[in-house]
């Protein structure tokens, strides 16, 4: 096999690795400054504000078009999820009642016994490394 110092592929991979480390270290140093935090949060705050304004505007637009808003759709989805949840609870209760009134073998898949003990340590002792 070619020597690693002569292998262009190994050199390329090594260079990428070093560049990644170097850039990360440089960026981390820059991002640790209060100026970075100030600028980042100013931009973030403006974006969040713009998002809220856009959402409010869309809501008004949908009302004027006589269309359901996202909030109304979400609320309907919530009610459906709640109905599904209640159905599941009823189903579970029915299964429980059914389980009590029928033979034990009608119960769910049998579980293995909770009797397992830790394996005895190897003769030489010591822990896995």
């Amino acid at each position: 096999m070619a020597d690693k110092s002569n292998d262009p592929v190994a050199l390329w991979q090594n260079m990428i690795g070093e560049m990644e480390k170097g850039f990360n270290a440089f960026a981390n140093q820059a991002m640790a400054s209060p100026q970075f935090s100030k600028v980042m949060n100013q931009v973030g705050g403006t974006t969040a504000g713009a998002q809220k304004q856009l959402a409010d505007l869309m809501e008004k637009y949908l009302v004027s078009m006589n269309l359901p808003s996202r909030a109304q759709m979400v609320s309907m989805a919530e009610r459906l999820a709640s109905i599904e949840g209640q159905l599941n609870e009823i189903k579970a209760l029915l299964q429980q009642v059914h389980g009590h009134t029928t033979a034990p073998n009608a119960a769910a898949t049998p579980r293995p016994p909770r009797t397992k003990r830790p394996p005895s340590p190897p003769a030489g002792g010591g822990e896995q490394k």
Binding site: M1, A2, P34, N41, G45, R114
Partner: protein, 365 residues
């Protein structure tokens, strides 16, 4: 100078160079073929260990994995996943699944996993997680398993939730606690501290504007910790695209890493104010829903696994956990790897999983 040296001034082994060129040509051809395959196919199916859903309440999901051993340990395990990420990092594919490993070793495994909180769940507070979701899941695990004792395993922020739960419910039923890369001293998360600098970061304005914190924002804040790594990993992918195993692993981890969850607004507000700004967990002043949460009150056996090269939760942020916890039976183990490779992938299979098994088996009877 000999004739040979004249033809080969660098004194290279020409046969090996020829073989290397041949290999690279083969790989270049393979890259073109596999590159098309990569774009046109989806990645492996993840999180496929058979399980039953025990409970779903909004963002909260409780699963029970079907036991595969003939005999299991008495004490069941409840895994509490971090609220920013999906639980399938612990159940990648057969042979690389922590869940499958635990099942094969004879543990009874449950997982508290999260789905994206809906817009109306923006009001979920820290107390909903610590005083409702976690205790509710513990109760359901007790009910389902028929056992009083439960071992809790928390990953990253799931570890913080487990610690808060364990502090408040110090009298049980938690029997053992295992934390993976769990931060305690939030001052030491230097870059996150700077991103959330209280002089410039208006958390109230953010939450009041967006409701839940968008997943893109969470993902960017993680990626900003190593801004060059995404580009470098794509170059690495192209270099190794001929290697099916590498591509499979890349796709699994990449999919998980980018599958970030939004965070409930009020919950994020508390994380920022109480943990990032006031460092209350470290300063022993943390309260949840008016109840004191001091980790010195936790007395159960604890194992804390930390990663040597963790860029998300640096060691200094995780170190005080073992110093401050009240347990007499406590152990910290530092393993090679990063925040994710500690718990999943080849590194975890060799290091963390066997260590955890050897620690937990004798405490699960």
């Amino acid at each position: 100078m000999s004739a040979d040296a004249g033809l080969n001034p660098l004194n290279l082994d020409l046969a090996s160079v020829q073989q290397r060129i041949q290999t690279e040509v083969d790989r270049a051809i393979q890259r073109s073929i596999k590159g098309v395959e990569y774009i046109s196919t989806s990645g492996p199916s993840l999180g496929s260990t058979p399980k039953d859903i025990l409970s779903v309440r909004g963002t909260m999901n409780l699963y029970h994995y079907r036991p595969i051993a003939d005999e299991i340990y008495r004490v069941p395990i409840l895994i509490v996943m971090a609220t920013t990420n999906r639980g399938y990092i612990l159940d990648m594919v057969p042979g690389q699944s922590f869940i499958e490993f635990l099942l094969k070793r004879g543990y009874d495994v449950y997982m508290l996993d999260w789905t994206a909180p809906k817009p109306e769940e923006k009001r979920l507070r820290m107390e909903d997680y610590v005083l409702d979701f976690v205790p509710d899941c513990v109760r359901r695990v007790q009910q389902d398993s028929g056992e009083t004792d439960v071992t809790v395993i928390g990953y990253c922020f799931g570890g913080v939730l487990s610690l808060l739960y364990g502090s408040i419910f110090a009298n049980g039923p938690m029997k053992n606690l295992i934390c993976f890369t769990t931060p305690i001293d939030f001052r030491e998360m230097k870059l996150f501290q700077n991103f959330a600098d209280r002089r410039y970061f208006d958390v109230d304005h953010l939450i009041d504007s967006v409701g839940n914190v968008p997943p893109e924002m969470i993902l960017s804040s993680f990626e900003m910790l190593r801004p060059a790594s995404r580009a470098a990993s794509q170059v690495q992918l192209w270099d190794n695209i001929w290697n099916d195993e590498f591509v499979k692993s890349y796709r699994m981890f990449d999919r998980w890493a980018t599958d970030t969850l939004p965070l409930a607004g009020e919950y994020f507000r508390t994380i920022t104010k109480d943990l990032m700004w006031d460092n209350k967990l470290y300063n022993d002043t943390m309260t949840v829903g008016g109840r004191k949460a001091d980790i010195a009150d936790i007395r159960v056996p604890i194992l804390h696994a930390v990663a040597e090269h963790d860029h998300i939760v640096p060691y200094d942020a995780a170190k005080p956990l073992i110093q401050k916890i009240g347990s007499a039976d406590k152990e910290e183990v530092m393993l090679k790897g990063g925040h994710v490779s500690l718990v999943a992938g080849a590194n975890a299979i060799r290091r963390l999983w066997p260590k955890l098994d050897s620690w937990l088996c004798e405490r699960s009877i």
